[in-house]
Amino acid sequence: MQQIDTSRPATGAAPPADDDHVRCGCDDTVADPWRYGFTRRKLLQGGAALAVAPLARQLVTTRMAFAQEPAAATNTVVVVFLRGGADGLSFVVPHGDPDYAGLRGNLAVPRSRLGHADELFGLHPGLAGPLGKYWQSGRFGAIQGVAIEQPDYSHEQATRTYERGATADIGSGWANRFSAAGGTASPFEAVAFGGGLPGSLQGPGSALALRSLDGFALRGPDPAALATTLGRLYDEPGHPAHQPVTATLGALATAEQVAATPYEPAVTYPEGGFAGALREVARVKKAGIGLQVACVDVGGWDTHTRMGDGGDANGDMYRHIADLGAALGAFCDDLGDALSTTTIVTCSEFGRRARRNDSGGTDHGYGNAMLAIGAGVVGGRVHGRWPGLADEALVGGNLAKAVDYRDVLAELCIKRGGVGSAQTVFPGHQYAELGVFTRA
């Protein structure tokens, strides 16, 4: 299996962590890079192993204190980035398009396996299973033909364009600007769960990268005095590490209070790092500490080879989508009432080539599907305009753009995040309302 995971390089992208006590030093290896992005749960546990509980309870710094908000009052946006260019044609399957079956060959998902199928689209069974009830109740919808302004087949370039949210050279990510515009001033207003900060959260606004609340504690003699000392060592606002150090110290203090209560999720999450990261999002959300935007990455979508038969539940692509669906389903179920103030969207830098390649996979493409679940979603339907898979409708062999991805995200920021103008988050973009979301 040679699929490349282009998930973020920083902390969370690494294989599972702490095995210091395994003497061979060759344990717990990821068996298959295809599933790479789903292994982060062990990373979270690794973070926990660093902690010393009694010290964590001692860590209290007064200036970092937070006021707990009324339960789940903040509207929260959860951005799930599918790294590597996820094959949206396998998510929201255009089984009714006359060219679909021919282009896809064995990758095509048979109509009989699709969920909530109409004459054109059907949901991949791996999504329809765990998330079908949300589709049914109108809280889960999809948008097809979503893309950046111009095709770009470089992961790096397309991802940068996507995460910055602007084609012009701009020094911050869209989620960072969103957080700055509607911020809750909590150390947890903008959090990347499971790894480092993705491009969308980078910028001047405060943002936190976190693996797990458990174990997120400072070790050392007299941790409170240590935190104060570190604050003094980095107290010059011009220092490049001033902001991250200050944010870390603030978050450590808040986390210490939240982590004092062990988290009991309402459901059992599946195994895997992505599900583990979502569990932490749910925990922070339910703690009511002002979470405005959460970013979680899932890798393993760069499927150049051997995706497997579309209808085969043991095929690699099928299983990967099913793992995604199961984790998202558990997350929504666990949120329960808090889902009424939580909106989840999936993003990916590009879709994949309409035609299957000769390695049983698909190469880099363009137009893609987005999923939207939760609060304010106009669900139970596929939004957008279907460009079609006819030869003349394709762009470089790829699904064309029907919807600018910024229109989806801008509507989300405006209607769920209370941002006044799309220009605040997506400067230079001519916003067109799609009707994917309703106002909070």
């Binding site: 995971d5 060759c26 990821v30 087949y153 911050s172």
Partner: protein, 543 residues
């Protein structure tokens, strides 16, 4: 001295008083040798920001960033060209001169100080071919290869005398990334062989040789799907390797090639594949898979009329290695790696020319880089990456190795927590070279806790016991707590602290600056607070 004569790194840093600044300058020795003796002016006209990759900051700060690092040329050079300056190395280079040391480091004949002999005994897998490591149907051989590779890298980085060589091995590992994963096509076993035969063999040689060797390595051919790419019949070649070869390894997208260029390159490269029988895992050229027919890729053309397209494929690879866009890209990455997060365009342009004039030789580029005014003026302009942080702490404290430890994976596991386990970056972009990509909250607190773990003895069975290390540190003890903080700073961060930082550290000891240190136990207690805190300080986070 007037303030406008401050070295660039200190300009605008309000945390350093004028007196503190003068003390720092007073502590800075003169550069040992003529060639490198320039104290450069601040870098002028900061260039347009480098396009960041995902995971790197959206926009580097324009111009020099404030720093607490003192402009000490010896410490500066060692902080960049090694995996961490040590007090002993600083003293040695002060005595012998930086130019002498650099020439020695660029000499391929420099001995490694004995680490390879130790590794040959503790990690015999390192000498094996990929096919010898593979266990058919089992991941165990790959897992052992992955473990051996990572552990060897860490020990070499910590203890080899060939520090700049190991820095370049790390650089090429990031630039030409192949993760050592236990995949169905045995990337870990293949990577182990490739690390030895490709990256380490050419790390200070010619880039053209390095690139050609990798283009025929089963590791890269397997990682980027090239081994499956066929151009015979109506097969459509796999574009994966061709695209990343041009985008990441050589030209960069700024070179302006088109999608047709990528498809043409993919066609030209068909035939480069592997023998993937379990015991083989070797490079193989298959003319029957090669797509014949003329190709044009930017300014490269080939009639490509023979099924034996290997020569033309390698001519294309060689062409890419010598391309001016490749020279720019490599120079920019080297400057961003070794000089400043925000690479000065003047230096990038000069180094690109040195690269082209030298027929892609790497050593002359490094020589020019470290002798440049831009380098001398870049004190404190790099943020320490997580592996530099942990390994630098171990080196600064002088932990002796325990290569026969029963926990050989402990340090690679620590690096994994930091997101930087060697050879484990999953995407072809490699770990970000910008240090600023690594200072998010999760990463900072993990670093901080690892500093504590080192000092608290969590690695006593992996390295030397921490009590022994701290026991000989500053022995005999300085008279007062303030003296002890000053001496520890000189030993670990090689310069005095700004007064406010000194006060903060003394406050954390809960003792007075003029208090006598006391007995050995009291000294050890102070060091348990002072040492990890210095390792977490801005003096360590910037280099």
């Amino acid at each position: 001295m007037e303030l406008d004569q401050q070295p660039p790194g200190l300009q605008g840093h309000p945390g350093v008083s004028r007196r503190g600044l003068l003390r720092m300058l007073g502590a800075a020795p003169l550069w040992g040798s003529g060639a490198l003796a320039v104290m450069a002016p601040p870098v002028q006209d900061p260039p347009a920001p480098d396009p960041p990759v995902p995971g790197e900051p959206a926009e580097p700060a324009a111009g020099p960033v404030p720093t607490v690092r003192a402009a000490d040329p010896v410490v500066h050079l060692l902080s960049r060209a090694t995996f961490g300056a040590t007090a002993a190395l600083v003293a040695d280079v002060r005595e012998r001169g930086a130019a002498t040391w650099l020439a020695e480091q660029l000499d391929p004949g420099l001995d490694d100080g004995g680490i390879e002999a130790v590794l040959a005994e503790t990690h015999p897998q390192l000498a094996r071919r990929a096919g010898e490591l593979v266990t058919p149907g089992e991941p165990t051989g790959d897992q052992a290869a992955r473990a051996a590779l990572g552990q060897a890298a860490v020990l070499r980085q910590l203890y080899s005398r060939r520090q700049l060589f190991e820095r370049m091995v790390e650089f090429w590992t990031d630039h030409l990334n192949v993760p050592a994963l236990p995949t169905g096509n045995h990337l870990a076993a293949r990577k182990l062989e490739e690390d030895r035969e490709v990256v380490r063999a050419h790390a200070l040689g010619r880039f053209a040789d390095l690139l050609a060797a990798q283009a025929t390595s089963p590791a890269m051919l397997g990682y980027l799907s090239q081994e499956e790419s066929r151009g015979d019949g109506d097969q459509v070649p796999n574009e994966n390797y061709a695209r990343e070869l041009m985008e990441i390894h050589t030209l960069g997208v700024e070179a302006g090639y088109t999608e047709d260029d990528v498809k043409n390159a993919a066609r030209l490269l068909t035939g480069l594949t592997t023998d993937n029988a379990p015991a083989a895992q070797t490079y193989r050229y298959r003319p029957e898979w090669h797509a014949v027919g003329p190709v044009t890729v930017l300014d490269f053309t080939s009639a490509n009329d023979s099924p034996d397209g290997e020569t033309e494929a390698l001519r294309f690879v060689d062409h890419l290695a010598h391309h001016p866009s490749t020279a720019q890209r490599l120079a920019r990455r080297l400057v961003q790696r070794f000089v400043a997060e925000d690479p000065p365009a003047t230096l990038v342009d000069r180094l690109a020319q040195v690269y082209l004039d030298g027929d892609t030789q790497i050593a002359p580029v490094l020589q020019a880089l470290f002798e440049s005014e831009e380098f001398a003026g870049s004190v404190g302009q790099k943020v320490t990456r997580p592996n530099e942080d942990l390994l630098g702490a171990i080196r600064a404290l002088g932990f002796a190795p325990q290569p026969r430890t029963e926990r050989p994976g402990a340090l690679t596991n620590a690096l994994r927590r930091l997101g930087m386990e060697p050879f484990q970056h999953p995407s072809p972009y490699g770990y970000p070279i910008a240090g600023t990509a690594w200072v998010d909250s999760g990463n900072l607190y993990t670093r901080w806790n690892l500093h504590q773990a080192l000092a608290a003895g969590d690695y006593d069975d992996v390295l030397e016991p921490a009590a022994d290390v701290l026991g000989r540190l500053l022995d005999p003890a300085p008279a007062t707590v303030g003296d002890l903080v000053d001496a520890a700073a000189l030993h670990l961060v090689h310069q005095p602290l700004a007064p406010a930082h000194r006060e903060a550290l003394i406050a954390y000891t809960a003792r007075g600056a003029d208090d006598p240190v006391g007995d050995d136990a009291a000294r050890a207690g102070l060091l348990r607070r002072v040492v990890p805190t210095l390792l977490r300080s801005p003096y360590s986070l910037q280099r």
